[in-house]
Amino acid sequence: MKSCQEISQLLGRFVALELAPDAEAEVRAHLAACSHCRARLDEAEPIVGMALRLAEVPVASDPGFVDGVLAGVHQRRVEQQLRRRFRSWAAAAAGLLLVVGGYLALRSGGGGVEPLGSQVAASEEAPFVEVEGEGVTVYQFAPASDEAVAVAMIIDPGLAL
């Protein structure tokens, strides 16, 4: 523990930010406890004295802070899971569109896909498929006038937010 005289000899270098971290910590600890040396510092550099007072202001207790952070972490986890699922669904949807498109191209003799009519109906069967380890239910919709045209929708019944 340094004396006030030793601390006062270090004050100039403390203000000039020239002390090694250990020596600075010792000066700070002394200044926190010694009003005499604090007054000397205020005289030499009042702004540094103000900073030390700011450091001494206690941080108000905030019992909900940790739970708030954990709630944010949980939210990010759900968002990450959703992003992963979306990528799987997008891959599944792209695969199904290729299959449907190829089927329609074959049915129409290579003449392309007809535009979807305004009246559509869901197929009775809703097959369950698994793509990239993700189980999904596929619903197909088709216009009554032309069953060769279909739109597939993939809905995960287990999705819960």
Partner: protein
Amino acid sequence: MGRFRLLARAVVSGEGRDDRELVGASREGDESAFAELVRRHQAGVRRCAARILNDQEEARDIAQLAFVKAWENLARYDASWSFSTWLYRIATNLAIDALRARSSRERVHGAHLRLVGEAVGPTAPRQLAEQEVQRIFGELAQVLTPTQRAAFALREVEGLSTGEVAQVLGCSEATVRNHVFQARAALRRELSARYPEYLPRGRRP
């Protein structure tokens, strides 16, 4: 309630471990270890954000966001840094961004905030009380740039070393010193203009 009880037990169990052990456990998905890191470092991060933003509520939001971002990026944490320095870096960047966004909004709306200081009264130097020092610093710090505020808060208030502040701000130690000295000079000018009673007699205008 179950989660809170679990959290309470976890906090107790994390007390004996150092930051690196807790970071390692958090990376493995140990939420209680991360909760202990939050509990351990929240005061410094909140205080630093508050000094930069001069707004307790916004500082709380930024501090919480900083911890969430830290959790998201634990895999990228470089163990050659101290965990607290890394946290300060995340929180400081968020606070500086928030401060810049606020300044931009104020410019757009033409709202130039300039608080008027109390009337100069006593001739004897006054001691700054805890709450008063926060209020006065908040007023004076409006003249600082976001980076000067951050450098002053980290180096002078939080007591980080110049090297640590350089890591946090991503600049050289010489630049940190420049920021701190410029911040001091600007604060001294404002203190002299607004609150000369807090200056030593020989330094009053």
